[in-house]
Amino acid sequence: MASSLKDATAIAGIGQTSFAKQLPESEKALACRAIVAALDDAGIAASEVDGFASYTMEETDEVEVAKAIGAGDVTFFSKVGYGGGGSCATLAHLAAAIATGQASVGVAWRSRKRGSGPRPWRNTTAQLPTPAQWTRPFGLLRPADEIAMLTRRYMHEYGATRDHLFNVALACRNRANQNPAAMMYERPLTRDMYMTSRWISEPLCLFDNCLETDGALACVLVSAERARDCRHRPVYVHSVAQGLPAQHHGMVNYWNDDPLSGPAWTAARQLWKQADFGPQDVDVAQIYDAFTPLIPLSLEGYGFCGRGEGGAFTEGGALETGGRLPLNTAGGGLSEAYVHGFNLITEGVRQLRGTSTAQVPGASTCLVTAGEGVPTSAVLLRT
């Protein structure tokens, strides 16, 4: 049995549906389509699937998926909480299960009709007690309001500007403009559009917020040995980590000593400790972008720059193709699709296969991260 997860497993297949504001099929049907596509991509029969991992917010249970696609006896299944913070953790759980012999073919997925379905914050009856009691009566209703609070403080402390946030939005949009599958394909963004757009929660404007998307994605994880016999070049799970910092407070992190150093810092310490390379060796990054300010905060947390330097890091085209750290090369949650970050994982796989629509030449290492500000997770992929 493996004593480390390092390169013990690999992503052998990826699959997805189309992305749109409204798709006609149910979340369950979309989930099955993405999973069947991922299995076909890997060249593995559905009957061989014996492990599942998804998000606690996923509405389609593994029972429904397993019986629909025709999985065999399933011996490992797991769900991870905290919304988009769980994306990479689904891989962590499957990798641990496969490396320790609890399963052999794992499927991770996310299906969501966030484009045509309800906005979760409109539900005033099902709320976590902590934010419901201490924030919502005061009109901090939406994730955008909660992150905007941290953003204004971040700008105040470190001199980050709206131009820095625009750099993030622009890099994602430029990559989406190259990706026919992206919701924002052929829809360029200009600085003038950004600066004159409507506010959502000051200091965040429309273009600081992710898309609302219907769609589903999946990937298939197997042992490194098995992956070498599959259809595509294996993309190894080199290091993977979850992060829940001391004194963190769930979905709204206002109450620890330092709210601007979030769960990314915790996940990063574990991630790099287990890795053979460091931030300077990352060829391309897929960083969770429900909101533009999560990028500078995550750049700091994962060690690409120092504390307070995340805004300045975005200058000079650093996040664009050919820059210091090409970012969200399919368009990310801001401009490809917002499916709780799962599209960041599949784009990381495409980059290391060499099949991205915004390919970084020779990319051999990729960081993928999950939601920052909430209990999070991250994975380092390598060829």
């Binding site: 009691q133 919502r136 939406r142 309001d145 204004r152 959502i200 929660s201």
Partner: protein, 151 residues
């Protein structure tokens, strides 16, 4: 259709740990949970069953002066729940207590107790501005609000 009349401003969804805060608030007192172990006595927020510093389950609620400074603030715009959309743009702030700077409370800055969250123009708000707590009645709850100190 839900509107601002049938769908009013939200009241707190109180849990066991938070109940004393709202009971003291109803008496006009701002109290924060603290460790009841005298050798520790650390404040903690939000409230929880035991002390993260010494693991004591002894608890007290310590009276605060109600003085605070704005740590950050936002100005939400629609789409929002109907009662909040009717007020937008309004302010929502996070203040840190002068007595205990790492204890932060969310709230609204208002002109005086009982006034709505849009009563102070956002351009009058600054990070670091001094505020004082005031309580306003909302559907049986005493809701903490924050009034700018005259400078």
């Amino acid at each position: 259709m839900a509107d601002a009349k049938t769908d009013p401003l939200l009241t707190p969804v109180v849990d066991d740990d938070g109940t004393p805060f709202w009971e003291y608030a109803a008496q006009g007192e701002l109290r924060i949970q603290a460790c009841g172990n005298e050798a520790c006595a650390e404040l903690r927020w939000p409230p929880r069953p035991c002390c993260p510093h010494c693991q004591s389950f002894a608890t007290e609620w310590r009276r605060m002066t109600g003085k605070a400074r704005i740590w950050s603030y936002v100005v939400p715009h629609p789409p929002l729940l109907p009662a909040y959309a009717a007020l937008a743009p309004y302010n929502a702030v996070l203040v840190e207590l002068t007595d205990a700077p790492r204890i932060r409370l969310a709230g609204n800055v208002v002109t005086e107790a009982g006034e709505p969250p849009d009563s102070v123009p956002p351009d009058r708000l600054r990070i670091g501005a001094r505020v004082q707590v005031a309580f306003a009645e909302r559907d049986g709850f005493a809701i903490p609000q924050w009034v700018l100190e005259r400078s």
